[in-house]
Amino acid sequence: AQSVTQLDSQVPVFEEAPVELRCNYSSSVSVYLFWYVQYPNQGLQLLLKYLSGSTLVKGINGFEAEFNKSQTSFHLRKPSVHISDTAEYFCAVSEANTGGFKTIFGAGTRLFVKA
């Protein structure tokens, strides 16, 4: 069965500093990997996804993530954060089976950007 572990529950960082949010996954089959962002009082929005091909994927708002199959990781990075990046970030893994896609989420990492 697939599972997702987000290694940090909270990450405080100063504005314009780099940030990395860590994610590890487990699955018995090929997977799709995602990062979603949830701003206060809003639903989840897709930040970026890895389906196949290049292991470095770029998303919206300057975020990028690197898929590492040997370490089963999919860490999210941004070279310089803004106050507006303060939100909850969820790593997710999706497996295809006969029933369709089933997407499982991690517990989330709260990114808090300080001035």
């Binding site: 639903g43 989840l44 389906l51 029933g99 997407t103 989420f105 517990a107």
Partner: protein, 115 residues
Amino acid sequence: DAGVTQSPTHLIKTRGQQVTLRCSPKSGHDTVSWYQQALGQGPQFIFQYYEEEERQRGNFPDRFSGHQFPNYSSELNVNALLLGDSALYLCASSHRAGPTNEKLFFGSGTQLSVL
């Protein structure tokens, strides 16, 4: 183009009661997934509906049931409510056979409080 809409936005119930939550998927989408997000946690997969049938199910008791209608809209029913059912319930839609069928579009959720 309307996105995923959920109703109601907030709901207060007492223990033992029953509740029905509603979801209209994004235009062109045919698959609806339901998630439970407790405070400070990641979304937990409840079940997924496609072609009016439950296709996949997470680790939730039979008190949680659902339905999908011919117009692809969906309902989530919870019977015999417990205090622990208090959470944000998220609906996500996708297009099963579409080119980005792995991508979920989320509604803003229904906040359920059980007293």
